[in-house]
Symmetry: none
Subunit: 456 residues, 2 copies
């Protein structure tokens, strides 16, 4: 066990140097790094490299095929190596008029830090550095070997990261990993996530003629792109939410008894969610543990958007020549996006929809962390010390992220700590974190590092 | 029979005053009058009234409940009254970037007149005036009593016209009517249309939450507006083009032997249509008389547009809270749009889609003209004189228009003449007519008026 006096000194250092941390964070947030618009990416990577070099890290800005990956390495007292995964890219800031203060001019008000990237994910980078700065100033060294892996494409699906990790696994080796985020829930209970779903995001397109036709002339004699798309989509999922692509569920692993027990222990947030979205009930009347199970342990087939023909006010009597739909499949272990696209293609062909083309916008495999890994216990114990409440352990979350290459290529367990809270507005205007959560997130990070460094 | 020398003078006058006609037409086309966007309607009605007053018409701009109706009256040599039905409203001009020159800045090039409204229907208004101007200048009077009925809601289904005609039938009485258009086919043969389908244009809308949700969180637990819409649409028509609403076909009258004979006599335009639209074959492999029969004597259910969720470039992982589709049912005798909407509502409810609302954008009944009416013979004879080819008589067309109140309330036979041709791009960018067709259309109009005025 780490020395409790030392831990208190570190806690204190984080509190006293909060302004220094927020200063560095402001520098990072003032630099837009919007990967979807290819805006400021290289500049932000270099700025981050500077912050890390100033702290004694040996930094490389490595090509990935897309945005460069910042890899930074520093030795520490223990020979164990902690990987810190983060990303320096951010979501687009639009709609700009809904921001109270400009997205790339950080502002502190009401005990909160506002900027695009505040919580997703630049605040988390500084949360890690606040903990490391405390060790360095108090001990003169880091508690263990630290390797930052900071990518610049998380917001577009970490397109190149899996291959980058595969190609660079020799230099990226480690013993555990802290994920890019951590958060508290509506009642300030710390949360720990042990898995993320994979994703397969496709666009289906169909073109039936070279231009739109008059619906009076063509209604009974021309193929209609919108009808083709509707009929094709209808073959993908039935009204009972069952996905109809043959073999779609073949690789699905059901949750374990342990997973179900973890889910059962989670508090309900149903009323908060219903109120926030104006939803009166959940699909299929789901509630409780069953709701939480289906929410994360079943794959999805979500239509994210459809477009065809005339969409303005009133009526236009047109027969559309083109139609498309964006579809997001969330995948659970052990589904694979490459396999899902192949099955989708085969299904569409078998159903008579060879005219519908599939465009893959992004894919990634699902991944799970073993809930009984000793590193998870360390993260949980450290959280309870800092937050004074037992941690909520979610065996899987609904969202997606590049956990797979960490778990299955680098073979590390993954824990979390951070600045997130339900009001953080990630991806939305007025993105922010609470200063108190920043302090706690950094203290939690420090206690995880301290414990991890002493692991046998 | 009208005096052939007089007719030649009139023909000549139309040719020599083409520039005057196009000047007045340009004034009309420069005024947008997009009824679907409620843009410029009143202004265009007043502009038209000015053109008619300048020609000695007594003009009223009458309220209809929607766009005003321009009713213009002028006496003539014969006591017979010809009704001229036209419309001054136009389709939306979008997509603007596909126009070679701006839609509301008329341009003449390659012997064609380009503008939104060129052929549908402002060019036809000037086509009538070109014929009338010739009579006035040569004879000092019109050949018969003329009544213009020019509405401003044709492009949204003539919502208020049937009731307007019912309410004003005393002042709208006539002996025959020239419809809003006339055209030649791919081989410059004049066409005469003896019926139009009815229409029932609806928008289906569904809202499942008060805002879009993150698809990772909500994919399996929130109702998805896009899926609701897809499933509902799929219950309306099957892949064999059979409309599935119970009772939808109940009132359908099959074509008569006379109709089938007229259809059989029509030349094939299949290859031209395929080439123009880049369509390789027609639905169900239809060809020949069977194709022409299904094209016009069967009702339709056409999706004109669908919109939901994210439609921009790349991917956005969103679960849409709203979705809508615009649907155009073309109706054949004796279907009724009021009955069809009621059956659609009942069907959606029975299929479990009470959450989907129906918004009626326009409706009108189908109508037929008796092919053996003497006025039809007059129109045909006049066409053959002008075009030098026998007229093609179509017993029914695929499009819709408010023929019903003319045929069944005002009790007039309906003929046609005009500027249309297959390259006219009505409802599309680069809408146009050929100047030569304008001249012929006006000459045809004049010869119909001359013959009609002498009918016993």
């Amino acid at each position: 066990m780490p020395d409790p006096v030392k831990l208190q000194e570190i806690d204190q250092h984080i509190v006293e140097h909060l302004d220094d941390s927020l200063h560095d964070l402001s520098v990072l947030c003032r630099q837009p790094s919007i990967v979807a618009q290819n805006y400021g990416i290289q500049e932000c990577a270099e700025l981050l490299a500077g912050l890390l070099e100033a702290r004694g890290f040996s930094v490389q800005i490595l090509p990935s095929g897309g945005s460069p990956v910042v890899v930074a390495d520093a030795p520490g007292r223990s020979s164990k190596t902690m990987l810190l995964y983060n990303h320096y890219d951010v979501q687009p800031a639009e709609p700009l008029d809904l921001w109270t203060t400009p997205p790339f001019e950080p502002d502190i008000r009401d005990g909160r830090f506002f900027a695009r990237g505040a919580t997703d994910d630049k605040g988390h980078i500084l949360c890690r550095l606040a903990a490391l700065d405390a060790f360095k100033n108090i001990d003169g060294e880091y508690p263990c070997h630290i390797k930052f892996i900071v990518e610049g494409e998380e917001e577009i699906g970490s397109v190149h990261l899996p291959n980058f990790i595969e190609q660079n696994k020799a230099i990226l080796r480690g013993d555990a990993c802290l994920w890019e985020f951590g958060s508290v829930d509506y009642e300030d209970r710390p949360e720990l996530y042990l898995g993320m779903r994979g994703i397969c995001y496709v666009e289906l397109r169909v073109k039936t003629a070279k231009l739109d036709a008059h619906s009076g002339m063509a209604g009974n004699i021309f193929p209609n792109a919108a009808w083709r798309l509707v009929w094709a989509l209808n073959t993908l999922k039935d009204q009972d939410e069952r996905i109809l692509i043959p073999g779609f569920y073949d690789a699905v692993l059901p949750p374990s008894e342990r997973d179900l027990a973890l889910l059962a222990a989670l508090p309900s947030e149903e009323e908060q969610i219903k109120r926030a979205y104006g939803v009166s009930s959940f699909l299929k009347g789901l509630t409780g543990a069953e709701l939480r199970r289906e929410q994360v342990f079943l794959p999805t087939c979500t239509i994210c958007g459809i477009t065809s023909g005339y969409q303005g006010p009133g009526s236009k009597t047109v027969l559309p020549a083109e139609a498309s739909a964006k579809i997001d499949f969330r995948l659970v272990p052990n589904q694979d996006p490459v396999d899902i696209v192949a099955k989708l293609r085969k299904h569409l062909d078998a159903q008579g929809f060879s005219d519908i083309t599939i465009h893959l916008h992004g894919g990634g495999k699902p991944a799970r962390v073993n809930p009984d890994d000793p590193f998870i216990a360390i993260c949980a114990e450290a959280a309870e010390e800092v937050y004074g409440k037992p941690v909520k352990v979610a065996p899987m979350v609904g969202g997606s992220g590049p956990m797979y290459p960490f778990v299955h290529v680098l073979n590390v367990p993954i824990g979390g700590a951070g600045v997130g809270y339900p009001g953080g507005r990630a991806h939305a205007p007025d993105e922010n974190f609470r200063l108190d959560d920043f302090v706690k997130g950094a203290q939690h990070t420090a206690r995880i590092l301290a414990r991890f460094s002493e692991m046998s």
